[in-house]
C-alpha cells in the first residue's frame, strides 16, 4: 500500500494546519497534539515496523517518538516540516535501538514456509484441495517474509534509506534531512543497500522474488 494520500504535506493548507496544531501544542493544548498523533501515527508506525520488525517494539518506539516530539517542540524551529522532525526522532530511535540489539541476533529455525506453523500448513492444504486463492496468499506471505528478512539483515542505517525511499517514497533531499546526512551519502547508502537486497533476493533464475 502506498500511503500517497498521507505523504509529506505539500499544500499550504496542510502545512498551516500542522503549524497551527503545533502552535496550540506549545500553548499547552494536548488535544491539538492528539490530532497530530492521529494524523501521523499510521505512517510513522509502518516505517518503524519495517525498521524493527517486531510489532511490540514498533509500537513502543513510535510512542516514544511522539512523546519526545512533544517534549521537544520548543526546540522545533519549523525550518523543516513536523513530519521531518517526527521521523528524524523516530528513525534515530530505531537506528539506536537496532544497534543495541545487534549484539544478539535471532534466526528462525523454521523455513519461511513453516513459520506460520499449523496455520500455514492448513492454508497449504486448503490451497491444494480447494481454490487457488489461498495458495497465492501463502506464496505472497512467503515472498513478503523473504523481503522482510532481507531488510532485517541490512545495517540499520542502510535499512533506513530503503524504508524512507521505497516505503515512504521520499526524495533524496527529504531523506537527507531526516537522517541528517548529505544527499551524496543517501545515494551511495541506498545503492549499496539495494545491491545487498538484490544478492539476498535473487533466485537462481536471476529474478528477484518478494513481489
Amino acid at each position: 500500500m502506498r500511503p500517497s494520500d498521507q505523504k509529506e504535506p505539500e499544500n499550504c493548507v496542510t502545512e498551516l494546519t500542522d503549524a497551527l496544531l503545533i502552535s496550540r501544542c506549545r500553548s499547552g493544548d494536548m488535544k491539538a497534539f492528539g490530532t497530530l498523533v492521529e494524523k501521523y501515527q499510521d505512517r510513522l508506525f509502518n516505517a518503524v515496523h519495517r525498521m524493527v520488525y517486531n510489532v511490540d517494539d514498533a509500537q513502543e518506539l513510535t510512542q516514544e517518538a511522539f512523546v519526545r516530539a512533544l517534549k521537544g517542540l520548543k526546540k522545533f524551529r519549523e525550518q523543516a516540516g513536523f513530519y521531518t522532525w517526527l521521523f528524524r526522532i523516530g528513525f534515530n530511535l530505531c537506528i539506536n535501538y537496532r544497534r543495541k540489539q545487534q549484539s544478539v541476533s535471532f534466526s528462525a529455525l523454521q523455513r519461511p514456509s513453516e513459520r506460520g506453523g499449523h496455520q500455514a500448513a492448513g492454508l497449504m492444504e486448503m490451497a491444494d484441495s480447494q481454490s487457488p486463492q489461498p495458495a497465492r496468499q501463502v506464496q505472497l506471505g512467503e515472498e513478503h517474509q523473504r523481503v522482510i528478512d532481507a531488510l532485517q539483515r541490512l545495517a540499520p542505517e542502510a535499512r533506513a534509506v530503503v524504508v524512507l525511499r521505497d516505503i515512504e517514497e521520499l526524495d533524496y533531499a527529504e531523506m537527507a534531512a531526516i537522517l541528517e546526512i548529505p544527499t551524496g551519502t543517501v545515494k551511495s547508502r541506498l545503492f549499496r543497500a539495494r545491491m545487498a537486497l538484490r544478492e539476498q533476493l535473487l533466485e537462481k533464475g536471476g529474478e528477484v522474488t518478494g513481489r
Binding site: Q41, F45, Q59, R68, A69, L73, R165, I167, E180, V208
Partner: protein, 352 residues
C-alpha cells in the same frame, strides 16, 4: 550467491539506482539511457534494482495499533505527574546527541576536577606525602613512592622515609651500581634493587630524613646523573620544605590547570611560578664536591600530575603497592616534569 551476481560495476549500479529514483539530471539521464540502449548487462542490473525496489514497496502497510494515540497521551500524563524532564527530547537528533555527549564530558570534567582537588589536598596533608617526580633529563628519571602497606609499621618511626628511585638512562648499570654503593654507604634499610629493562633500574629503600638528604646531595655530586633535580619522599613535609624552600608550597595556593586525557585520566598542570627553582641552593655537606645543578638542555615550564581514576572516579589503587619490587608506582598521583612537553594553559579550577 554466485560470483556472477557479485561482479558488477559499482559506479554503474549507483547511477542506475539514482536513475531508478528519478534523481539524475537531464544530462545524466540522457547518458545513462544511451548506455542502457546498448548495454544488456546494464539493462539487467536496472531491472533487478527495480525488482528490489518493487519488492520492498509491495510489503503490506502496517497500521498503528488502535490504542497507540491513547498510550502516547497517557505516557505524557504520567511523565507530567512524575516530573520527568523534557530534556529527553534533546536526545533525538544527532546534533542533540553530540551536544549531550559534550555536556556529559563537561560534567565529567567538573566532577573529576572536584575529585582531583580533594585528592590533591589530601595528598599534601601529612603523614601521607606527595610523590614528586621531577624529570629534567630525558635520560634520568627518579621517582619517589609513598609508604606501601608492608612498610607502614616501619614508617611509624618519624625519621624514616621510604624512597623509590628509578634510574633511567642509556647506561643505567654504572649509575645504578653507583647508587647501590651510595645506599650501602649510607646504611639505608630494605634496599631492593630491580633491573627492569636495559635502560631502567629501580630502587626502593627506607632511610631517615637525614640520610635521604645526604643521599640526594651525593646523587647530584657523585653520580653521573648530574642534572637530577630535587627528589622528595619524606614523611615530614615541613622538614623537607624547610630544607628546600623552593619546593611547592601549600602556603601559596595556586590554580592548577586541569585537563581530561581520557575517561579515567586527568592532568593537573602547575604553573611555572610554582615549579621548584632549577638551581639547588642547598649547600653540599661532608666534603662532597659542590656543584650547582643546572639543566642546560631543557627548560622546566610546568609540572604535570597524572591521576588515573578507576571506573568509579576514584584514584586507582594499585595492588602492586605492597610489593616493593614492583616497578609500578604504587601511588595514585605522580608528578612528572613537563619540560618542553607541557605549557600550562589558563587555569580553569582554583584550588580551595
Amino acid at each position: 550467491m554466485s560470483d556472477e551476481r557479485e561482479s558488477y560495476d559499482e559506479d554503474l549500479a549507483e547511477v542506475l539506482s539514482v536513475y531508478l529514483d528519478g534523481e539524475l539530471s537531464a544530462e545524466e539521464t540522457a547518458q545513462i539511457e544511451e548506455r542502457l540502449a546498448e548495454d544488456p548487462e546494464a539493462r539487467m542490473l536496472l531491472e533487478q534494482l527495480g525488482q528490489v525496489s518493487e519488492a520492498v514497496q509491495s510489503l503490506p502497510h502496517s497500521s498503528a495499533p488502535s490504542d497507540l494515540a491513547d498510550e502516547v497521551m497517557e505516557q505524557l500524563e504520567r511523565d507530567a505527574l512524575l516530573g520527568v524532564s523534557d530534556t529527553s527530547a534533546e536526545m533525538a537528533g544527532r546534533t542533540h546527541l553530540r551536544f549531550r555527549r559534550f555536556a556529559a564530558a563537561a560534567a565529567i570534567l567538573i566532577l573529576t576536577g572536584a575529585v582531583v582537588i580533594i585528592v590533591y589536598s589530601v595528598l599534601f596533608k601529612p603523614p601521607v606525602e606527595p610523590i614528586i617526580d621531577i624529570e629534567t633529563s630525558p635520560i634520568v628519571k627518579i621517582k619517589v613512592a609513598p609508604p606501601d602497606e608492608s612498610l607502614i609499621h616501619a614508617m611509624q618511626t618519624p625519621t624514616y622515609n621510604q624512597m623509590h628511585v628509578v634510574v633511567n638512562s642509556f647506561a643505567p648499570d654504572i649509575e645504578a651500581d653507583q647508587l647501590n654503593a651510595l645506599l650501602e654507604q649510607f646504611e639505608t634499610e630494605n634496599v631492593v634493587r630491580k633491573v627492569v629493562t636495559s635502560e631502567l633500574t629501580e630502587f626502593a629503600f627506607l632511610c631517615t630524613t637525614e640520610q635521604m638528604q645526604e643521599i640526594f646531595r651525593s646523587l647530584k655530586s657523585s653520580l653521573s646523573i648530574n642534572n637530577i633535580d630535587l627528589i622528595v619522599a619524606d614523611k615530614d613535609k615541613n622538614d623537607i620544605l624547610r630544607q628546600y624552600p623552593d619546593l611547592l608550597s601549600p602556603r601559596e595556593p595556586y590554580a592548577p590547570d586541569l585537563r581530561i586525557l581520557g575517561p579515567n585520566e586527568v592532568i593537573l598542570s602547575i604553573p611555572p611560578a610554582h615549579i621548584p627553582d632549577k638551581t639547588d641552593k642547598t649547600p653540599i655537606q661532608d666534603g662532597a664536591p659542590q656543584k650547582k645543578v643546572e639543566d642546560s638542555s631543557l627548560s622546566l615550564v610546568g609540572v604535570r600530575i597524572t591521576i588515573r581514576l578507576d571506573e568509579f572516579g576514584f584514584p586507582e589503587t594499585n595492588p602492586a603497592a605492597a610489593d616493593p619490587n614492583s616497578l609500578d608506582s604504587p601511588v595514585n598521583l605522580m608528578l612528572e616534569s613537563a619540560s618542553e612537553k607541557l605549557v600550562p594553559e589558563p587555569n580553569v579550577l582554583t584550588r580551595p
